[in-house]
């Protein structure tokens, strides 16, 4: 299992091209954000649907980047391809407990998801962190088993400036 962390400053330009306000607390980011400026063409992982519902059950509201009807990409693989989640500066500083809640809900959902399935249980998802308001961004890529998700909260909080 592995976490990769990289700078992700290009998100500022991408948001600008799509005319999207950078004032986001927490939301799902489309997979093709860098490929199209047209919000109605944004494609998200279809796992976003269930994650959104799971979080909502626990009163954690995570919406799509825009109000456009989301197109959802399905991959009929045994691996779980999760969405890209954006965690804004406000969330990191004013509601850091949400990160723990997010990690806990995600782990619990994935534990359930893979129940009854033998063989490799690989998980992939990304988290974009706004380290400095509207200025500095990091992308955290995760690929590995469910167990590795337990490090996520600590990792995200360590990226906070």
């Amino acid at each position: 299992m592995s976490y990769e962390i990289e700078n992700y400053q290009e998100i500022i330009d991408l948001f600008t091209k799509c005319n999207i306000d950078l004032e986001k607390d927490i939301c799902f980011i489309p997979e093709n954000l860098s490929k199209t400026p047209k919000c109605s063409d944004f494609v998200y992982s279809e796992t976003t649907s269930d994650l959104r519902k799971v979080f909502e059950e626990d009163s954690v509201l995570i919406e799509y980047l825009t109000d456009d009807k989301p197109l959802l990409r399905a991959r009929k693989s045994a691996d779980w391809f999760g969405p890209t989640i954006f965690i804004g500066f406000n969330t990191l500083t004013n509601n850091p407990h949400l990160i723990g809640v997010f990690q806990s809900l995600l782990s619990s959902y994935l534990y359930d998801f893979f129940k009854g399935i033998s063989g490799g249980k690989k998980v992939k998802f990304e988290v974009i962190i706004e380290r400095k308001k509207k200025q500095e961004f990091k992308k955290v890529k995760y690929e590995g088993t469910i167990d590795g998700i337990s490090d996520l909260e600590g990792l995200i909080k360590s990226l906070k400036k």
């Binding site: 494609v43 279809e46 649907s49 269930d50 519902k53 799971v54 909502e56 059950e57 989301p70 197109l71 959802l72 990409r73 399905a74 991959r75 009929k76 693989s77 045994a78 691996d79 359930d112 998801f113 129940k115 009854g116 399935i117 033998s118 063989g119 490799g120």
Partner: protein, 226 residues
């Protein structure tokens, strides 16, 4: 602890008896006629359980209805296991594989939804089905499709799946939620080792300049899917 009405308790006891007996018959060396009879016994249990569930949707609680659905799927899983063994004995390898995959799929649904959450029971059975896959069948490649959903509906409430609170793969009052795909643009098909659907599989393999059945290595498949 789950509180159950008497009818559900009685069904639970019947389930335990039926499954215990069926598992004793679901061993390769058992007589094939006994195995065929056992499939019929399981079918009768499933029919009886479905009738009880359907007639008591307003009377039984959601966990009770879900428990009955778990009984149905578990009984059908053992039935599929028996059918797999019967097919193997009859040389119907394609159908044997289908039965195995259906058994694996169903028991995974039960593991995710059983109200009593007895994971220790499923893990042993899952390992058994996994062993069948690895020991009785050759390694195969599978097709995994990827595409964009244009319209999907929830099988429980019939609303657009995005707009409802139901989760696919979960049981609600004895019904399994499925994300029905009504419109989709296919983007790609990949060949993978670990697919979501093991029924989308490699059928042939090149051998001595010809294509032969991947399971039997014979030129033609010996069975047809039911």
């Amino acid at each position: 602890m789950m509180i159950m009405l008497n009818e559900v308790k009685e069904l639970f006891e019947k389930f335990n008896d039926v499954i215990a007996h069926a598992q004793d018959i679901a061993i390769f060396t058992r007589d094939i006629e006994l195995q065929k009879s056992e499939v019929a016994v399981l079918r009768r249990f499933i029919d009886k359980s479905e009738k009880l569930k359907d007639e008591n949707k307003d009377k039984f609680s959601e966990p009770e209805l879900n428990l009955i659905l778990c009984f149905i799927l578990s009984a059908d899983t053992i039935s599929k296991e028996l059918s797999m063994i019967i097919c193997l004995k009859n040389g119907q390898m394609d159908t044997a594989w289908t039965c195995l995959v259906q058994a694996q799929t169903q028991i995974a649904i039960v593991a995710r939804n059983h109200p009593l959450n007895e994971e220790r029971h499923w893990n042993g059975y899952l390992a058994k089905l996994d062993a069948f896959e690895k020991l009785l069948f050759p390694k195969m490649m599978f097709a995994s499709t990827g595409g964009i959903f244009k319209k999907t509906c929830c099988s429980i409430c019939k609303l657009e799946y995005e707009d409802c609170k139901h989760l696919k793969g979960k049981m609600y009052s004895g019904e399994l939620c499925v994300r029905e795909i009504h419109d989709m643009d296919i983007e790609e098909v990949s060949i993978v080792e670990n697919p979501a659907n093991k029924l989308c599989r490699q059928l042939g393999v090149p051998r001595n300049g010809k294509t032969v059945d991947v399971l039997t290595l014979k030129q033609n498949s010996t069975d047809r899917e039911p």
